[in-house]
């Protein structure tokens, strides 16, 4: 459960034990441990998204714990750094999947669409084109399941993707490409804007069997290219797209690794790269669908 508070948290006394960095080296998030109020035994974390919000996360007490002051369920308190901060988006797209993985789930950074062949997932780094690609598929008649968080679960000896928030967050240029004049926003606003699904960009509201995963390249290919990946390659690539709350929690990190390894062996994985030019999107869609057709 998320509580939004006013005010700010003091800077933690210790430096962050982990950071998320964008491909161009910007700090996206910092992770700190906070002292837990005794006699609580469960850890307390601070996740800071610079300039946007701090999230104080008090984990639920272990079931075997006698601590009565630790919460019975994970408690998240957000401290927005500025008015209009995208607190809800950060909560759903970062904090929730982190906690999900911490509790043994399988959440990865990516988008997914529901095709006639099953769900197709796209993993890549921030600003790599995952959301635009999901939107392009939706426009072509393949509803999007999720635009930023892949929630995957085992089901009947296979994997399936669970639908997430029915929202597409697009930068102005992608919004204009996918929605035309309806996607226009304030001039000079370079932030992502949220768009609800509709007839033009439909959303799939039910889970879909995961047919294939596509790991997006950096956009250096001169034409659309997709190559089947060896599961070991796919494992290494997917490890970079997980949401890990505490990288020093070795048993959990190991368990996460095992889940990703099982996924890499259980689902076909492809490397996909293409010029980041909207004109190539129809070819990308055709190429991806061709790669998974029976």
């Amino acid at each position: 459960m998320l509580t939004i508070a006013s005010g700010s948290l003091p800077d933690p006394p210790q430096p962050p034990f982990d950071r998320w960095l964008s491909p161009d080296g910007r700090t996206l998030a910092e992770f700190f441990r906070l002292p837990a109020a005794p006699p609580a035994q469960a850890p307390v974390y601070l996740v800071r998204f610079p300039g946007q919000a701090d999230f104080r996360i008090a984990l639920a007490a272990p079931s075997s714990s006698d601590a009565q002051s630790a919460p019975q369920s994970d408690e998240v308190i957000a401290f927005p750094a500025a008015a209009g901060a995208a607190v809800e988006s950060l909560y759903h797209n970062a904090i929730v999947p982190m906690l999900g993985n911490h509790r043994g789930g399988l959440f990865l950074h990516g988008s997914a669409v529901a095709s006639d062949h099953g769900a197709l997932a796209f993993m890549g780094h921030s600003r790599g084109g995952k959301t635009t690609l999901a939107g392009a598929f939706a426009r072509a008649g393949h509803p999007f399941l999720t635009e930023d968080v892949l929630a995957i679960e085992r089901h009947d000896l296979a994997y399936r993707v669970l639908p997430q928030r029915p929202v597409l967050r697009l930068f102005a240029d992608s919004a204009a490409e996918l929605l035309g004049p309806a996607g226009a926003g304030p001039t000079g606003d370079d932030r992502k804007r949220e768009f609800a699904p509709g007839q033009r960009l439909p959303h799939a509201s039910g889970p879909a069997r995961l047919r294939a995963i596509f790991l997006l390249g950096p956009g250096e290919a001169r034409q659309v290219r997709h190559d089947l990946l060896h599961p070991a390659e796919a494992l290494g690539a997917m490890m970079g797209h997980g949401f890990i709350l505490d990288v020093n929690d070795r048993p959990r990190l190991r368990a996460h690794f095992e889940r990703i390894a099982a996924l890499a062996q259980g689902v076909e994985c492809h490397a996909l790269d293409y010029p980041r030019d909207y004109a190539h999107l129809p070819q990308v869609i055709a190429g991806v669908l061709g790669a998974v057709a029976p």
Binding site: H230, P231, A232, E233, L235, G236, M239, V247, R250, L253, R254, F257, E258, A261, A264, Q265
Partner: protein, 103 residues
Amino acid sequence: MGHGINISDRLLACPQVVAREVAGETVLLDLAGGGYFGLDEVGSRIWQWLATPGGCTPGEMAERLMRDYGIGRDRAEHDVVALARSLVEHGLAQAAETMPPTP
């Protein structure tokens, strides 16, 4: 022989490394540093030998590769030392003499 690695050095897989066999290859996860590394079939076998109790020397591993793959000594030793050096440089393996004594 390679920098820092002698043919008779006994090497061990570092205990904080998790290995997972995936379709004939091995992916290593360094729980301490968070990095992950891939090993092909031969590399996977070398890792298995390093992960056995007491570890292995490059010389012993080269002998096994010569026997199992029918390759010459020079190539076997070169390949083993090159991989061993890389694993040590990445903190995934180390000389047995540098490991803390078990309680």
